[in-house]
Amino acid sequence: MSKKPRFIDAYATEIPIEKLKEVSLDEILNYAFEVYSLARKTGYYGCVIAARFSKYSRNIRAYSKRLDEAIATARENGVNCFSRCHIEASQQSEFKRILKAIRFNCDLISTSPQNRQLMAFSSRDHRIDILTLIPGKIPPFYSGDLKEIKCQEKFVEITVASLFTNNTLDPHRLGILAEILKVLGRKEIAVIVSTGPLSPYAPRDPRSLLSFTKIFLGLDQAKLAKDLSQGILKRITENQYKRAGKMPVRGVLIEG
């Protein structure tokens, strides 16, 4: 068995919802091929293509399904890419409505909670896999939240896009993240680093990300490498089993 880690870019790029309305399945498919080839060139094994939902509408289910279908077709053609829905609602009621609609239409569900109420909800809800931290907009973490995140094996994510302002690294943002990650590291919570919504897609070499986060954010390199490869792949596989009805509860897999 190969020991080389298979890094996954968990937030490779983002397709805006306005685009999902207009573009055809083939166009999404071509876009997935382009993103994947760039990710492979940079050193990733696979990538996750996201769609961002901030408001509920009746067509949300159809849009997320369309994205998932295109990604599934790409996967059948040998491209290691997965679908992800990123929810960015400011109210819990709207958040729940979006979540209900898209739940079975993507491989990963993530959110970037903007207030305390959403932070408490997203760290406890089993349907959410990733909590994305945006420096400057991070509500306080309480010990109950951290306990739930760890217990449910969720991921806390930092994006490369959020570290930059006007194409330069923002030391203020790095400082904020370093403080938070110190606490998360102490609690042994899985942290991942991904590209984020950069346009055009500009992935960084995963090994340079490991070194960078070790020096600037104090993350453990070996643990981060494991979470960025095996960890996230395991979560995606689990979700795929769930969607196929093979995993009624976490830890129970129906074989055959």
Binding site: L169, D205, R207, S208, K214
Partner: protein
């Protein structure tokens, strides 16, 4: 005592350095991230050039992470780190085995 070194094999992916030197760009990034302290710690030096786009740089072994982390500033995919080795002989052998640009892209697509 002789300082321990590491040899980094870099492929320049674009035509970015037709007139300038890639070492200058790397120094610029090191200064941007770590300042003079970084330059002295990493101690970057070009030791070998196989073709016009394959370079071997030597760095201080203790500053490997410092050097790798500067590629977070490489948003345009100018460089690709192929391998970091402990001996120059091995680095040259690996660098010589890298196919030429056209062939490199073809083989990656096949993979």
């Amino acid at each position: 005592m002789r300082a321990k070194k590491r040899y980094v094999i870099l492929v320049v992916e674009s035509d970015f350095f037709k007139d300038s030197d890639p070492g200058e760009k790397l120094h610029e990034w090191i200064k941007e991230l770590y300042g003079i302290y970084g330059v002295s710690k990493i101690h970057l030096r070009e030791v070998f050039r196989i073709r016009k786009n394959v370079y071997i740089f030597s760095i201080s072994a203790s500053a490997k992470d410092f050097f790798r982390s500067i590629f977070i500033l490489d948003g345009c995919h100018i460089f690709k780190v192929i391998k970091v080795t402990g001996s120059l002989r091995k680095a040259i052998r690996i660098a010589r085995s890298i196919p030429k640009p056209g062939l490199l892209n073809d083989s990656k697509e096949r993979n």
